[in-house]
Amino acid sequence: MKNWSKSQTAIVALVGSWLIIFGIIPIVLLVITSFLGQHPIDFFTPTFSFESYRELFNRAYVDVLLRSMKFAAVTTLLCLLLGYPFAWLTGRLPGKYRNLVLILLMVPFWTNSLIRTYAIRMVLGKKGFINLFLLHTGIIDAPIRLLYTDWAVVVGLFYLMLPFMILPLYANIEKLDYRLVEAARDLGANFFYCFKRVVLPLTLPGIYAGCIMVFVPTMGLFYVADLLGGARQLLIGNLIKQHFLNAHNWPLGSAESVVLILIMAVMLAFYGFIVQRLSGKGGGV
């Protein structure tokens, strides 16, 4: 640090202080708040207490957390199953088509998520597009309920998050050395063998990246569940919001957030671990 010019010091100072004030301190405050005592009227009492964490192990919260994780997991799986072929095929397309496909993928991505959720509502409603179509063609004779169900929520989440799966997958697949696949083919391997032994290991980092980019944010997208699922059952995001805002129970809301951050951190650490092991094996990352 001794030989730093003025500009270097300025940069580090600016960036550093911003990150400290608006990045590190809020998170630290959050953790501290989770250890404070609760108060019926004020936001908290300035005493040290484990009561929020003890309350967390109450069955209700565990259920909510598990339910949120279930939604996130199903969405992630759906995105993976449908997004992987997309990323692969796009990677194999010739240049000009590839760009076109990517542009077409990006437009929904850049469109406001509320607008897209609203669009799904118009499609799924009892007087919506799907029902109108099915009625018109005579496949059904009364509208079926699609909206305000768990599946509506999954469809909505999948709709929003698909690009988040495809993009990291594609970034990884694009760097893939196809000659490895060709070599395997030349050596007589069939499609499944190729996929299982060559392609899958090579694209695993992309898969994990995509899964994390979908799973983590989906845990927090409670407003989609509100709009499409009827707000019938709380997800972890709703719960945190309710405790923090409506019940102004800051310690409890903070404790729930800390747990969520820990889960997230564990998944990220796992991802880092996988990537490292694969690079160690020479897996062509």
């Binding site: 019926p40 009227i41 936001f43 069955r59 209700a60 919260y61 259920d63 909510v64 339910r67 409603g125 009892k126 007087k127 509208p143 309920r145 909206l147 305000y148 699922g229 009827g230 707000a231 019938r232 059952q233 709380l234 709703n238 719960l239 309710q242 805002l245 409506n246 019940a247 102004h248």
Partner: protein
């Protein structure tokens, strides 16, 4: 290269002009109200007469409003419209400014029986704006209105995954408490618990919770039966008169929403002007006719359109009011309700 170097100054200029326009120094009043509660034309008329711009924000539940007001210690909203039991809660927690009655001459046009209630004695902190009820809504094209005449009927297994419930803790508990024959303002933990257990059995029948605009799911065909505010039912009938409003046998839920001035208000005089304006008979008339809720402004009643004045939905008969119960403060029992409500909503 040339294109890009123009872009930055252009953007900066755009910013500047936007900021400059936004920083206009007109007189303002910040009003925080339920969704669909004051017609646009009323706000426009107010601004035209007084020159005060109304900056309008909305909420869909008392809890949201309360949470926001608690957070804002200064430069906050000038006017809010809580329900009665939140008026007393906020009054107790010293979140409200006392009203200056000298600035509110139109109080005289109010029905005296709606004033000086125990949630705000002498109306030192609040002035009633509108009152109404929460009852049963039914789409008679799909569900026979004769078959749904009491809260109890909502528990019928044939309504599995079909009901709309208001996203309001007190209103939902009212149904169960009334079924049990208790007061819906009870503070007795045992009674509240029994209500919770009864509501637990109702949960499989619930399709969705909605307080933003409860009539929309009825109109769009997603829901055919459930709870609904009387005003929403009235508005729904304008578009589809198959939608009916039913006063349940056990007793309908009655509520009053009042104007208050939060402590962090910055335009206190403008707030008073606004409230006084809203108490005018012609203004009250416009609100009633637009939304279908009842007004405490006595002098507005003769001005109303005949269909409105005679509507049972807006102005229920005395027997209905006596059978029903006005929502009131539950004091320290509120957290008990909140705990059970959360359990219900978490699927417990």
């Amino acid at each position: 290269m040339k294109k890009r170097s123009i872009l930055i100054p252009l953007i900066l200029m755009l910013c500047w002009s936007l900021v400059a326009v936004t920083a206009g120094a007109a007189e303002k009043v910040y009003v925080y109200n339920w969704t669909e509660y004051i017609p646009e034309k009323v706000l426009a008329q107010f601004t035209e007469e007084t020159g005060i711009e109304v900056v309008y924000s909305t909420y869909d539940s008392n809890e949201t409003m309360y949470a926001k007001l608690k957070l804002i210690k200064k430069d906050g909203y000038d006017v809010a419209v809580p329900s009665a039991y939140y008026v007393s809660k906020m009054r107790r927690e010293e979140m409200l400014l006392p009203l200056d009655k000298t600035l509110l001459p139109n109080i005289d046009s109010l029905d005296a029986s709606m004033l000086d209630k125990n949630y705000d004695p002498a109306n030192n902190y609040s002035i009633p704006y509108m009152w109404g009820s929460t009852g049963i809504g039914v789409n008679s094209d799909y569900v026979d209105p004769e078959s749904v005449t009491s809260w109890q009927d909502l528990w019928d297994p044939r309504f599995k995954a079909s009901l709309l419930l208001q996203d309001d803790m007190r209103e939902v508990f009212h149904m169960a408490l009334k079924r049990k024959g208790y007061s819906s303002n009870t503070k007795d933990p045992q009674e509240i618990k029994e209500a919770y257990l009864m509501l637990k059995e109702l949960m499989p029948n619930v399709l969705l919770f909605n307080s933003d605009s409860p009539r929309v799911p009825y109109l769009s065909g997603e829901v055919d039966v459930g709870m609904i505010w009387n005003g929403e039912a009235w508005m729904a009938r304008q578009e589809n008169d198959a939608i009916r409003y039913i006063y349940p046998k056990e007793g309908v839920n009655l509520w009053v929403d009042s104007f208050v001035i939060p402590k962090a208000a910055r335009n206190v005089d403008n707030a008073h002007s606004f409230i006084n304006f809203m108490l005018r008979p012609e203004v009250a008339k416009m609100c009633v006719e637009e939304y279908g809720y009842a007004t405490p402004v006595r002098e507005a009643l003769p001005l109303l359109d005949e269909k409105v004045r005679n509507s049972r939905i807006i102005f229920p008969e005395k027997e209905v009011i006596e059978k029903g119960e006005f929502q009131n403060d539950v004091g320290e029992a509120l957290p008990i309700y909140q705990g059970y409500w959360e359990k219900l909503r978490s699927g417990m």
